[in-house]
């Protein structure tokens, strides 16, 4: 591991200033992803700015009826929070379906959003990877494709985003609050992560030195009827092949409103807007759920090694929505 300086500033402004003066520096949250990457040589910061004490580790009520999750809130606290469990159960389920108890106790809300892909080639320094080393090539396109994206990928990169938590947040239209060298701003979480395009090395739209300080969840009454379904190779402690975050509002057999997002299928948590559009105002039936899934997946461009993800996603979407129907009866 490359040597680095360690700083623990006492406020966000100082942290931002420290990183501004260190082009190869990085913020350190719990480090569950970053420390591993430093050991592997994927990340080589010469300065770590410890930010765990700088942002809130609390979940607070907002005046509009939503909730503000401090960036330092551990994943385990987020999932255990009784208000989250009641108002946004799919967010608690998403967090609980990721990692292990030990990791959730360490990992922070901000860090979870910024974790990097688990693409095996990205994590193997001996293989070409455009995300790790721009211009070197993509090994997954010709290699082991089981974990590859089916939506929104590019010639340069077919990696997927690993977060479960972010998928539920994307379905909720959460807002990410950020502080950086140019002040504060709020970014819709649907726009935080990027598609790879020609710059797969950039996971997010964050500018250098910007620090996530909180995530705001807007009020969404029907999110009380929501579910996160994760399909993976093991029953526990594995990343998603496909996951579905859904919230459903049905009255008199008609879909009044719906939120749908997918994990494991793209370079970013994938908001299934086309499926949502197909569902709203239509009949709440298995056939229409399936048709809506097809509408979303019409854009899928699977590789030979992950073509199974298309029917898997279709079935997972349909099953999740059917489960939520039962929840409304």
């Amino acid at each position: 591991m490359k040597p680095f300086r360690y700083e623990r500033p006492t406020d966000v402004a100082s942290a931002v200033a420290l990183l501004r003066g260190a082009p190869d520096g990085a913020y350190l949250g719990a480090g569950t992803n970053l420390v591993d990457h430093m050991r592997l040589g994927i990340a080589t910061p010469d300065l770590l700015v410890d930010v765990r004490q700088l942002t809130s580790d609390r979940i607070e009520e907002l005046r509009d009826g939503g909730l503000r999750i401090g960036a330092a809130v551990p994943n385990s606290d987020l999932a255990a929070d009784r208000t989250i469990r009641r108002r946004y159960p799919f967010l608690a389920e998403a967090v609980l379906s990721g990692a292990s108890g030990q990791l959730r106790n360490l990992a922070t809300t901000g860090g979870n959003l910024l974790q990097r892909t688990r693409c095996v080639y990205f994590q193997d320094l001996t293989t070409p990877c455009n995300k790790r080393e721009p211009g070197s090539g993509c090994s997954m396109r010709e290699g082991y494709q089981r974990d590859a994206a089916i939506l929104g990928a590019s010639e340069a990169c077919v990696a997927t985003h690993p977060s479960d938590m972010a998928v539920a947040m994307v379905a909720l239209d959460a807002m990410v609050r950020v502080q950086g060298p140019d002040g504060e701003r709020a970014i819709p979480v649907t726009e935080l992560h990027r598609l790879p395009g020609q710059e797969p090395e950039r996971d997010t739209v964050l500018n250098r030195g910007e620090l996530i300080t909180a995530v705001d969840l807007p009020p969404l009454a029907f999110a009380a009827n929501s579910r996160y379904r994760k399909v993976r190779d093991r029953a526990s402690y594995a990343f998603a092949l496909v996951s579905v975050a859904a919230a459903l509002d049905v009255a008199d057999g008609t879909v009044r409103d719906v939120r749908l997002a997918l994990g494991g299928v793209a370079h970013k948590p994938w908001r299934a807007s086309k499926a949502e559009q197909a569902l709203r105002g239509g009949p709440a039936t298995e056939a229409s759920f399936r048709a809506a899934a097809d509408a979303e997946l019409a854009d899928a461009r699977p590789l030979p090694g992950n073509a199974f993800k298309v029917p898997l996603a279709r079935n997972a979407i349909t099953r999740t929505l059917l489960d939520l129907m039962e929840g409304q009866q």
């Binding site: 040597p3 360690y6 719990a30 990692a99 292990s100 030990q102 990791l103 106790n105 029953a235």
Partner: protein, 181 residues
């Protein structure tokens, strides 16, 4: 033929003076900032209770309690945990008297080679506290159910971050269940 040692690459290694509180005792150390908590415990303090399995946060053998919560010491930088309360499997025992979880692992034959065992036991300790606090798991049927029962399925799910290459799971689950119920 001229022989000379190759020049060492100039490196700016950074050291930090820290105090680690481990199993109730304070230890002052000067460490390289790159040192993980696991390495500090094992190599500097001689506490080999937490084990180095994968060193990537995947196996759970290095599990310790950090400020009362189970956590992976291989992914924690020691410099970031000065002042934290650290408890290892060694510290769970009361001198020579085993903790009930340790005793249960012995009685149920909850190990074969024993390498993952300290991590399993600390993880189980933390897990039981989480369940007592009403934390659900992903297999909990009703997220808001106040009456959480630690079924075998619940134990398996909550302990999934601790791998056992000897596959002693069939005895680990009953050992934990005995203490849980």
């Amino acid at each position: 033929m001229k022989t000379s040692a190759p020049a060492l690459e100039t490196r700016s290694i950074t050291y930090a003076d820290i105090t680690l509180r481990v199993d109730g005792s304070d230890h002052r150390l000067t460490i390289d900032t790159r040192m993980t908590l696991l390495d500090a415990l094992r190599e500097r303090l001689g506490n080999t209770s937490p084990k180095k399995g994968c060193d990537h946060g995947q196996c759970g053998a290095c599990t310790v309690l950090l400020n009362g919560r189970r956590a992976l010491s291989c992914l924690a930088l020691a410099v970031a945990y000065q002042g934290a309360e650290i408890v290892t499997a060694h510290g769970l025992a009361d001198g020579e008297k085993l903790h009930p979880l340790q005793q249960a692992f012995v009685e149920h034959d909850g190990f074969q080679c024993g390498y993952c065992t300290p991590g399993q036991i600390v993880s189980a300790f933390g897990m039981l506290q989480e369940a007592a606090a009403g934390w659900p798991s992903v297999v909990t049927k009703n997220l808001n159910d106040p009456e959480l029962v630690l079924s075998d399925d619940e134990i398996r799910e909550r302990m999934s971050g601790n791998l056992c290459r000897c596959a002693a799971y069939a005895n680990i689950v009953p050992a934990i269940a005995e203490v849980a119920r």
